[in-house]
């Protein structure tokens, strides 16, 4: 799944499906079956993702969409409350921004 996709355009829905797959790989399908995952799902409160899972997730995003998706750099500008409130649609928006500015 971690293949590099760089040039063709991709809509938010397609990115959401890919991210959902990555989340499933990082935290396990069993847990995901219990919650309905949407673009409004938060990484901390809903998915209970811990920080090392977020590192693994961001690795998968970079491997798939390209190394210019600088998660650490992006998150370094946030305080802890902002990081806790991160939702899937925030990541989709960030990926699209990185892709359009490349």
């Amino acid at each position: 799944m971690d293949t590099l996709i760089q040039n063709e355009s991709i809509d938010d829905k397609e990115i959401f499906i890919i991210l959902k797959q990555f989340i499933s790989e990082v935290i396990g399908e069993e847990f995901l079956e219990d919650i309905g995952i949407t673009e409004d799902t938060s990484f901390s409160k809903d998915l209970e993702m811990d920080s090392i899972e977020l590192v693994a997730f961001s690795e998968k995003v970079r491997s798939h969409f390209g190394q210019h998706i600088d998660f650490p750099g992006w998150l370094s500008g946030m305080d802890i409350d902002q990081m806790i409130q991160l939702k899937i649609h925030d990541i989709i928006k960030f990926i699209q921004q990185c892709r359009s500015s490349k």
């Binding site: 811990d50 590192v55 650490p72 750099g73």
Partner: protein, 255 residues
């Protein structure tokens, strides 16, 4: 995930700004992982330095190990990792247990390190954490309460899944490894003079409200080439003050 073989075990690492001319290695604390630095402190340092972080054995995404949690074995892992990267000399940062490993590495391999940044190194003579580990089998909640009391409850509350995951890590480290015995043998680490022999320029960072603060003062007294900086917070100061911590580190390593 980037994985490298170190002393026979798979080690998860992350590297930021690989083109940086000087390198900073960062070591996390016991029960933690590299993420404590990865999202905020490391990216700020990476504007000036190559930064390499890794999960200690048995922690994070690195391979589990039944033994070898003593400071010498951990320092040997660090040196083996530096050798894998063909790095002869680096700046070194460690937090808590990682700070003890950094001190040990500087004692055993002084020529491999330029400057040291020691964050919240605790004096391992403190019996309370070891007693918590010994009692873990019988009273798992006591450990969580102890960790919470050291950080004034400032760390994020956990849900069921995260609690279960943390419990699995605690179960492994405290019932299936030699970590308690290994740390028990380190009780006299702050005494006996070896720390006094560290001549590296050293920055000591402690939280003003940390229960390890006295250990920071003790180190600043023993290490003649050190400077103690106090930041608002407690033992969890790199989580509570990541930007301030990063700025302190950057200023120190840039000088």
């Amino acid at each position: 995930m980037p994985i490298i073989k170190v002393n026979g075990k798979n080690v998860h690492f992350q590297e930021l700004n690989p083109d940086g001319t000087e390198t900073v290695f960062m070591l996390h604390g016991m029960l933690g992982n590299l993420a404590i630095f990865y999202f905020q402190i490391a990216p700020l340092l990476a504007a000036r330095f190559r930064v390499i972080l890794y999960d200690l054995k048995g922690h994070g995404l690195s391979e589990k190990a039944p033994e070898g949690y003593d400071l010498t074995s951990m320092a040997e892992d660090l040196i083996a990792l530096m050798d894998s990267f063909q790095l002869r000399m680096v700046h070194l940062t460690g937090y808590s247990y990682g700070a003890l490993i950094a001190l040990k590495a500087a004692i055993l391999y002084p020529v491999r390190f330029k400057k040291l940044a020691i964050i919240e190194a605790p004096n391992p003579c403190d019996e309370e954490p070891l007693e918590m580990i010994s009692a873990y089998k019988y009273n798992k909640e006591a450990l969580s309460e102890y960790v919470s009391s050291r950080t004034n409850g400032s760390l994020q509350a956990k849900g069921k899944r995260r609690s279960a995951k943390d419990n699995r890590l605690h179960d492994f480290l405290f019932t299936e490894t030699s970590i308690r015995e290994d740390m028990h043998l380190e009780r006299s680490f702050f005494y006996g003079g070896s720390i006094n022999g560290i001549l590296h320029k050293t920055l000591l960072i402690y939280g003003q409200g940390s229960d390890c603060l006295a250990d920071g003062y003790a180190l600043s007294y023993k290490m003649t080439n050190s400077r103690l900086v106090l930041l608002e917070g407690d033992h969890a100061v790199p989580v509570q003050q990541p930007i301030e911590t990063a700025l302190c580190l950057e200023r120190f390593f840039c000088k």
